[in-house]
Amino acid sequence: MNIEDLLRETLADMSREEEPPPPGRFLPGQPARRRVWRPVLVAAGVAVLIAATTVVIQRTAPEKKDGPVAADTSRPVPVSKLWPRATHVLPQKLPNGLAYRPEAFLDERTLLARTGKGDTVWWSYDVRSGTVKRLVAFVPPPRTDYTSSVVVGSGRLVWYTVSWGTVKGLLDIWTAPVTGGTARKVTSIRQTMKYGDIDLMTVVGDKVVWSRGIEGGLYRAPLSGGDPARIPGTKRYHLLQWPWAGISGARPDELPDSRFTFQRLVNVLTGERRDARTGTASCSLTWCVNHQAQALRRDGSGRRTLPANPLPPGPPALDRFIVLRQSSSRADNRLYLYDLKTHRTGDLGIRFEIKVNDRTASDYMQAVTIDHTTRYVLTYDLGDKRVVIDLPAIPG
């Protein structure tokens, strides 16, 4: 490694270590903190209050050179009506009284639910009969700071734990049978990231494959246990969906805060390249979404205007889904799940007002933010219910 790579890694690492304050902290009406620019704020704070602009996400008229752009004007339909088999409205506690987090659907009626902080238990929750069965009880190693969500594949659950704060941070990858049983360690990685230096992990046959979050590079280890090995020729690659990976590197059409956009893709098995011809946009394998609230194919074709603004654009989930925010005024915001494949818009039923000193808006938007790492469920609380949408079960 050279000093420039180390600098990239260290900066990326540091950028994630402090949780950003809620947006309300920066909205007018907040008490200003100390420091020299207070006089600026006195004048400009008023300006914030009354001034404004259209912004990055504003929908703009398409450029003429793009030719005609289809507009998607289909009316949103409540998700429970649009995708009844995929939408589950559940209690916020398991039948055994425990608070839980939905992880994935194992089949159309069985939710993998997770309970516990620190010591973690995964349950199978039959959402029709309301019965729960303990699958895996996992006691993380001492000094574990974080236990990841699971990925499911080849009949296994796979997840990782991170111990951070010690000089030599450690990341352990674990597996257990999806039918339940004892957790077993697959491999260990030296790293320093608080939430683990893995940006995406997946199961491929009898191996677990992942890419490193900061410097990239695809790695694999046998599920039966063994040392990790970098897949040859994948330096600086970031996994999008196996076997497709994005190539990192400075490029003017990428986003200003180094979010990864998967503009340049390569199939790590065949070497096939698929570079986007879309201008600045976040892409999955087939689709890209840009700042003008447009979706288009990676090759630039099929451009259409979305029915509302995408919530911070990232690579679509499962190469199909994005979340949109419809806002007719500050007081009326609605969130939709949009299917790029079928052009259907599902109304999530979430309504909120953007207000000072109120986290409702950002909490909702955070809860439903999805990207290429979202492979199983979209979940949020509505009233005293928990809505869990089984994304792969949405018919295409």
Partner: protein, 170 residues
Amino acid sequence: MDPDRAAEFRTFVVERSAALFRTAYLLTGDRHSAEDLVQSALAKTAANLARLRDPAAVEGYVRRAMYHEQVSWWRRRSKAAEVSTDHLPDRADDGHADVADLRLVMRSALARLTPRQRAVLVLRYFEDLPESEIAKVLGISVGSVRSQTHRSLERLKKVAPELRTMREPA
């Protein structure tokens, strides 16, 4: 002012403040200063919105304001007020510190750069901007960007000799 545009600005803040905060944290190295920096840059942007016709320009404007604010604020202060002087971690016994150790060394070394040196490195190695863009953001020439990047890397190696053993960039 048009209330719709006011609402849009608020939306921009709601959606992008987290990303802005992360950059500000890298520039300042501490949470409170980072919050201050974001708020200040947003206030300046709000005051100049009328001139920002291109919606896509807003985020760029906020980011430029952050860099300027950070560099100029420190320039106004006396040099005696250098940032953290945290002790560097001990070197690895065998002289071949592994990556985890090197990152800790790097963090401490970054804290000992001047704000401008730090800004140049954040623009180059976090935001991944080309030299011409960095020059625009900081209002300096491309030649100055190159020389300051070089000097900043040299300074890192000076305050953290462990970094001298690393390979030269390809």
